[in-house]
Amino acid sequence: MLHRELELAWGSPAGLRGMLTVVNHGTLGLRFMVTGLVFFLLGGVLAMLVRTQLAFPDQDFMSPDVYSQVTTMHGTVMMFLFAIPVLEGLAIYLIPKMIGTRDLACPRLTAFGYWCYLFGGIILFSSLLLDMAPDSGWFMYTPLSSGEYSPGSGSDFWLLGITFVEISALSAGVELTVSILRTRASGMALHRMPLFAWYILAMALMIVVGFPPLILGSVLLELERAVGMPFFAVAGGGDPVLWQHLFWLFGHPEVYIIFLPAAGIVSTLIPVFAGRPMVGYGWIVASILITGFISFGLWVHHMFTVGIPQLAQAFFSAASMLVAVPTAIQVFVWLTTLWLGRPRMTLPMLWVLGFLVIFVCGGLTGVMLALVPFNWQVHDTHFVVAHMHYVLVGGMFFPLMAGLYYWLPLVTGRMPSESLGRLGFWLTFSGFNLTFLIMHWTGLLGMPRRIASYESAMGWDIYNLISSVGGFMMSAGIAVVLLDLALHGRFGRLAPRNPWCADTLEWAVATPPTSYTFASLPQVTSRHPLWEFPQLGESIRLGEHERAGAPHGRRELLGTDPLTGRVREIIHLPGNSVWPLAAALVLAVVCISLLVRLYPLALVAFVVAACMLLRWSWENGAHASATPLGDNEPSDPALHSRTPDGPGRWTMGVALLADGAFFLSLLFGWCYLWTVSPQWRMPDVSPLSLPMMIASGLALTLAASWLGRRCRAIVAGREEGLARAFAGIAALGGVHLLLLLTLAVQAALAPTDSAHDAVLWVGLAYLLVHATLATVLMLLQARRAALGLVSARLPFEPGVVLLFWRYHTGAYWILVAAIGVLPRVLGANA
């Protein structure tokens, strides 16, 4: 009865409808991982093509043009379509189970992220099949990737496809952050949280802050290519080095975004196979936080050769060495835990040990590269390629394999083959080192990266041949692993419950897990719940804990305090929905329209996608298709939409962090071009009318302050005239929008003539989009208040909208100061 109720509430309809509308974290996490695996195999084929080309000197197996496409796509696919999505998929699949809840806090966002990833990946990869793939390297340096030197569609595929895929990464980043902070099991205080959750929390926040600079860079470069706004062209007042800054502001944290979840896998497995708690839990947590921050202070070490003052290089050199400290702390904690425990050399542990060896070597060459003179010597050689693969394959792929073997019994209920698994490991490990250890020497001998062929006289022949043989050996190893995965579902022995004697909650669910994950929600009193209560899984299944069953038919989680894990409210989740798929599909139309330069269609599709997303947000709270008000509602704790706080508010807050990172990147671009660009032209008189900016800002500030007062009144139980007040606030928002629009028109900017006007244009567009959205959201709130969907009993939504209004107000005044006031104060010649 208990399980039937839960299955009714949480299950998906059968057939195509269920497949397309599912929002469950388990299904979507697996989809992320399987899709990522497909892209990994495609990227692996590209790598083998590269190694075939380089195996012998003077090869013409591929033309230089095709070779450039293949190397660019190999890097792009592995970084953007494999590494990040697979780790996100793993986190999406595991986090709810590990923190003792039934699903992620924003299940429709999970589905939306998956569809954006799938469509973006297909669009990007299709460029290779159409023989118009990007060929400027996976970091797309300008001016090589600009219209002048890459006139085809390759760069556009990269810029638009990657931006589309990044929507997916940001979605996952936002919802993982909110889920970990607000939906942990009762009693799971911060200091009892599984280490894997700490790592994923850091990764998610790094995605939220780290991806927007690249999104901004991609938007600017696409604007330059499509309509000629000269952000990166020196003649127009731009600077190509700005692209490098924006790319590496994302690109270096990206390495740690990939490494941290993989290290989370290692930190989960080592205590289990050492048979003892992790030594220095606090040290690991501190290391995670340090890595998360310091990794944002290293980006210039990718740019040591562009001509930066020595002192500035020294700052980044020192910071690059500093980041080795938290990594070393983790390695020593892992080794100490193994030293003090009784390690079991199982298949997952084999991959963990492989990781330790390879990653430590990669870390050491990283410290070498942090030294400026050495960096200059090996810049753009195969030494850097070898280092990067040691860090990324060692730091991500090996732990991922360890995790795959470790959690496979949880997913399928069967054990992998020990003999096939070991053969796969040794082939991969040997092949990897044969390829990339040798490549260090090839690089030290001076072989540059991204060259399609070389002469025999250079003396690189034998090293390249060994690397190619190693590459194919590694491929054979991965093929054996895949064979093991394929066969284990049929021939693997049935897995007992908790086959590795693990301590974390994911092993307390059924294998394979059910759609509702936990039949009842346990209380947690230690860091190792399954070591403390080995029978916890059985009592959960019998419904002996919180919120057993679902007689009301709702999908329910417990919302808990982010610090103490005390229960605060009951979060009710939406069910299956077609909106995520529909919105992602229409965004794919936007992407393709921009690629083929059908801008009117792109605009129409963008508006349709926005309407779909707003419609999606409409079906929330007390809406008839969500959780309408009733007589027998729980009051202690209450449903989240009946409180002023809840996951939506946190989701908005974290999403605004990403928005803020985008905004700060834009400000950085403005200041950078103003200060550094050699042909930057600041006009004598600013084209922006200061009185108009102030008038528009006053309307906005007045509206935001009025909304703040109304929100406080609702929480205090005063709801009279709510709809009218919200309509009034929306009207003030409309005035602000109108004044802003007038300001933009009056400015008569010429964004294709100068980078100055182009940046102003983007800044104004940013404000206009936010002003429009703020006004529309307020109008919707007014309508919802009129329909009784917002009231003193339903105070949740205005608080969410208020956060957006406050953000927009802050961003507006900061931008006014930066582009309207500062040039007037400092003068045109500053």
């Binding site: 911060l190 200091h191 947590v285 501190a286 003052p309 020595q310 002192l311 982010p562 200041c671």
Partner: protein
């Protein structure tokens, strides 16, 4: 167990990111300030490290270091009076503030050795 949540109590969860945020802010000012100063008023190369640029950034670094050490000390001493999650947060925060202070010293050290704009 009572958990002080009043900012800036040593056991406030935001202490976990306060020290590192200060380090980040200092780093941005260090690099950004140097870049802008070198662009607007580059000193004579013959003056070596004895420039207003190095001195200003050095004083800023010392002030940041002092603040971080004070934060570390206040968290550490508070952790001795607490237990549970509050003790844990204070302890880890103290370590993070201390590390951030070390980060200021390591990254700021070149100010004593290199001229600013060459």
């Amino acid at each position: 167990m009572s958990t002080p949540r009043r900012w800036p109590a040593p056991s406030h969860p935001l202490q976990l990111i306060l020290g590192l945020s200060l380090w980040s802010l200092w780093f941005v000012v260090l690099y950004g300030g140097l870049s802008v100063a070198c662009e607007m008023a580059p000193p004579e190369p013959s003056r070596g490290v004895f420039t207003a640029h190095n001195a200003t950034l050095g004083l800023l670094s010392l002030a940041t270091l002092g603040l971080l050490l004070w934060l570390a000390w206040s968290c550490l001493s508070a952790s001795r009076r607490q237990e549970g999650v509050a003790c844990y947060l204070s302890m880890v925060s103290a370590g993070l503030h201390l590390f951030s202070g070390g980060g200021v010293v390591v990254v700021g050290l070149p100010l004593l050795m290199l001229p600013p704009c060459l």
